[in-house]
Symmetry: D2
Subunit: 356 residues, 4 copies
């Protein structure tokens, strides 16, 4: 099912970039959980546009309106629905794109699949704007997980060809540019500015670390933590690769290099290294769960590009005039945290049930 995720906790996301509203329903939350709206708002602001020189100038309050599921600040057990009105839409910007699909976008595949009645304005249901309801859902799950001792922190580890090789040691969400090594971060910002100056865009990689997760979450085979997380992470637009632990780097190693020895620390079984990223056989092993998502450069660029005019099937040129991020990676950081939070809290509920 396309816009629905989860097994015990069910997330449904709806809306198009220029529909009256976007929103989400989260079903299966236990009753009696406080939802701190100010904390949620701070989380949503990290994703919101208009706050960074690297992001789109489109301004959205992005303040969620809760329609159901919350009563006097607590979850009540009923499905929780929140919406965000789409205010500052300029549909004119997109009219030309109805016939000129933008390279790298879903414009062409949406036309093939849905035909003339698709909502092409602003990318419709495929728009990166739909990560806002994902962040509402994830922001709530983050609060519930934190209460259970689980923390989720993402950071930028690559922009273009510039990598931050430093290990994750502390959360960086409060930094304007969420990277561990600030010197590397300045080089990354420069690379973004350069792409912007050339009416171009640039890709990158987000790493996410989950700490405090008990061993035993996840299921074998198709219900593994990797499957559950990849299944939602690829739902964030522009993600083209997902890896866990050392991921693709593991392929270059021998077993004796890559295996994480079991040792005792304070009487508890831990691993001496964490190449596996906290997951063995799909199940959490109690070590930090580590994942990385590769983001392609935003396909919307100001440079003229080759395309096909679908109205008369001739080759043509398209230049994207809308307001777009030169680098989506910065705003993707909370989205990755949100996606991880939904998947992990769902796995938690599968293990513990509604009466956790």
């Amino acid at each position: 099912m396309s816009s629905t995720y989860g097994e015990h906790l069910r997330l449904t996301i709806f809306g198009q970039s220029h529909s009256p509203a976007i929103g989400m329903t989260l079903e299966g939350l236990p009753a009696g959980e406080a939802v701190d709206l100010q904390e949620l708002d701070r989380f949503l602001q990290r994703r919101a546009p208009g706050h960074s020189p690297h992001a789109t100038a489109r301004k959205e309050a992005d303040a969620p309106e809760f329609l159901s599921g919350i009563r006097e600040g607590f979850t009540c057990g009923a499905p929780l629905t929140a919406i965000i009105r789409n205010g500052d839409t300029r549909s004119r910007d997109y009219e030309e794109l109805a016939r000129l699909p933008r390279p790298g976008h879903a414009d062409y595949t949406a036309w093939v699949k849905y035909g003339p009645h698709r909502d092409y304005a602003g990318g419709g249901h495929f728009s990166g704007r739909l990560t806002a309801p994902l962040c509402i859902a994830g922001g709530i799950c983050l609060q519930l997980l934190r209460r259970r001792g689980v923390e989720i922190h993402a950071r930028i580890v690559q922009i273009g060809t510039i990598r931050d090789e430093s290990p994750f040691t502390a959360p960086v969400a409060d930094k304007p540019f969420p990277v561990s090594d600030d010197a590397v971060g300045r080089a990354m910002e420069e690379a973004i500015a350069q792409a912007k100056g050339q009416a171009d865009s640039i890709g990158g990689v987000v790493e996410c670390v989950v700490t405090g997760l008990p061993a035993g979450l996840g299921d074998p085979m198709f219900g593994g933590m990797e499957n559950r997380l990849a299944s939602i992470l690829f739902g964030i637009p522009a993600v083209k690769g997902v890896e866990f632990g050392d991921g693709f780097a593991c392929a270059g190693r021998t077993g004796s290099e890559n295996n994480d020895p079991f040792i005792l620390r304070n009487g508890a079984v831990v691993t001496a290294s964490n190449h596996c990223g906290g997951i063995l056989g799909g199940i959490s092993n109690g070590m930090p769960l580590v994942m990385r998502a590769a983001f392609k450069p935003t396909p919307s660029i100001g440079k003229p590009q080759r395309t096909v005019d679908l109205s008369n099937m001739t080759e043509a040129e398209v230049t994207v005039h809308g307001r777009h991020d030169p680098c989506i990676v910065l705003r993707a950081v909370p989205c990755v945290e949100a996606a991880a939070a939904v998947a992990i809290y769902d796995a938690w509920l599968c293990e513990h049930g509604y009466k956790e």
Copy 2:
């Protein structure tokens, strides 16, 4: 749900390494489809152990017995179940492992999750042997997809640090070592032999290319082709990373480098390049669908490794004496094809329904 996959086509895999049998049920197949058992057997032989100097010496006929769903060589519309008896099991090899979890294996997490009654022999339900029923399911889907013009071909593109950078041009499944550049392949075989000689193992990467897929398959957001494929690929043991198109390499590029321009070829819309791997917005665009899966080195190695004795919670050493592959990648090639076939035929049925 852990051992069940699919939306319209539902695959359930059951069995443990040393249970009486392993098997699978495939529900949702249309009736009246011929199943060529000889072709299926040839496909299963590519995964079967005992055929290569690089693979485990455990011998299994791996001949599926069909219990239901097939009548006189054709699917009949009822759930199709096939099993493989577990013959050549040596449970003694594994008794020590009940208390000494092997590093890199699911032994420890299975103990945490399932407790003393878990089936630890040979990895239980986590064993790589469970890819045999996956290949039965995938082998059948491959036949149905081929009939509909869709071909799926995987190959080895990396063993350890040795990479085959040559593009996919033709199927290599018939080669004893399924790689495009045979010179590189010989170096890979040498690397495997070296790992084996050192009682070690080695990882690698499998690439899979799907041709003939029409544009329009897959759904937005969590139902995208990437989500569907990653969700099943991470079900193959040892997979730690999955990418589509140029995957992680996209992160290092600008939009103008990475976008695939739309052009006309024989009147049809195609893309001049295929960095996106045939998927835009989660939906197939008619170009070859390209994915890669990173396999960690087999954790079972003959070298002594540090572990914890779970019977008395002391640090200990474990040496794996069972028969194991020095490199799982070779046998993983048909498994990746099988997983891709199940996911793609499921997406096909979602689009076309039972009355396709």
Copy 3:
């Protein structure tokens, strides 16, 4: 999953009686389907309160606001979400009920399951008001089904002990009291008026007939048309029994009485009788599909009733002062049509796929 229904078409219902809004998301609708909002409004008016002397005096415009999934009057392929604002709420009416669960209501079980943070006002998520979003979903499916030759018509066949034994011959939805035999209908109305006069309520039975349904819809075992329909019909509050064809009456017969002989009519295979209600082995046989749902009398009555005060665990008395229907059956008629439409169009899409 509690508030989600469907396999290919996925319906999610959210909201509480006194939350800011109630609504629904319908995912999986094909793109390019016209949605006639006036026709939908006429359908919703049949369920809306305030229109009949037999129904609650609570007034709600019940006009849906579409947030997504529709563009210029046509479905666009994205999830369709519509909401109804909750305007005329009198929460004071319900404050006493927080501690005095009404007999026959979900008040007590909601308290057990969700605890002090449940939304008790007006029955919360359990309120009959939640059938309004069900009717939005069903009203849209009815339009799509009609376009495919399928008609769904429900009628009242029993109120209290008064039964209309006449066969279904023509739709009665346009009648103020939707019954086939108007003389019997007047007696039914009298029974309702009598219950109302005694501050009591009364139950009844709704029958629903689906015509134009092709043979072959539905699946064996748990995917049968009966399973699919019962699974959604029991989601309408107050339904305590569901039967198909002659239902419970079949139990009193012999096989030779109950079997429907196959005959030819205009070259087509039909059955001479229709005791099975158009379903054999869970699959539609091309004859009218017939179902009946038994509704218990509305539990909200003006008479004093025995209950337990949950605040101090003493026996107590409760009198319901809110505005309530003396007979829910009248307004349930379109709800049954709506539920049937969602289930049947879902089965249709399972058979034909998105590209039907």
Copy 4:
């Protein structure tokens, strides 16, 4: 999905009447649960044919072979698969039926849906024989539920027009004819014998009572206990109606008659009556959960019946010569218990999770 049931506990049933085997996979069972095979066998014998003068003469050992999921008598956490070989099959009996669909059977709808490759022998996947794997699954769940204080007992309350109106007071499973009032039971047996003597069959009603169920199980709307139970009960062949509590009888009452007052008994909230059958708002209220399923008379009768010859589309006559039950209701009693057990244990796991 047709032959799969459940949310947290997933049951998949496979096989046809005359395929090599029938069987089931049960996924999601907690590890470490003892499975008493002798107790299971006693339960399966209640359903097995060949034991009663009222049942088919087909003899089947019906002894399940466990292929996976059990280790040394305990569940191990992996999917549990058990099969039953189909031994005593006489396919010749059914050859004529390939072209002459039996009235009341799925023969015709299977032909429409699956075409010439359907498995028509013995009803294929639609055969009542497929209730044997349902009973394996249910028999295991019954053991786990009993360990948690939940008992499930079914009985015959109607055969033809003869009803046992006596209330359920004690289990009757050990009786050769499982009815509370033995005098009524003898009349029922006489009615069955009479139907058999006339080469006819007869229907009936099974009631099932669940005791010891805690309040709070089940979910609102489509996840209610009624929805969950009806959804699996209609999967038993021949069920045409399902009701809860007083069911259809509620429709004939006023609210003051039908509402169950809350009272205190030993400090606990109970209801003075149980017209609602232990379910309010879809959620268990702690009182006995009561359901009834109406079975139509077995369609297979020895009398000649009108049908259509599908090979040449002419009207024809068919006489069923196979061995068939004159009354399926007797053997349906354990099937109803099994179906209820699967649904209730699934709801239990949804509430409590894998780590219940």
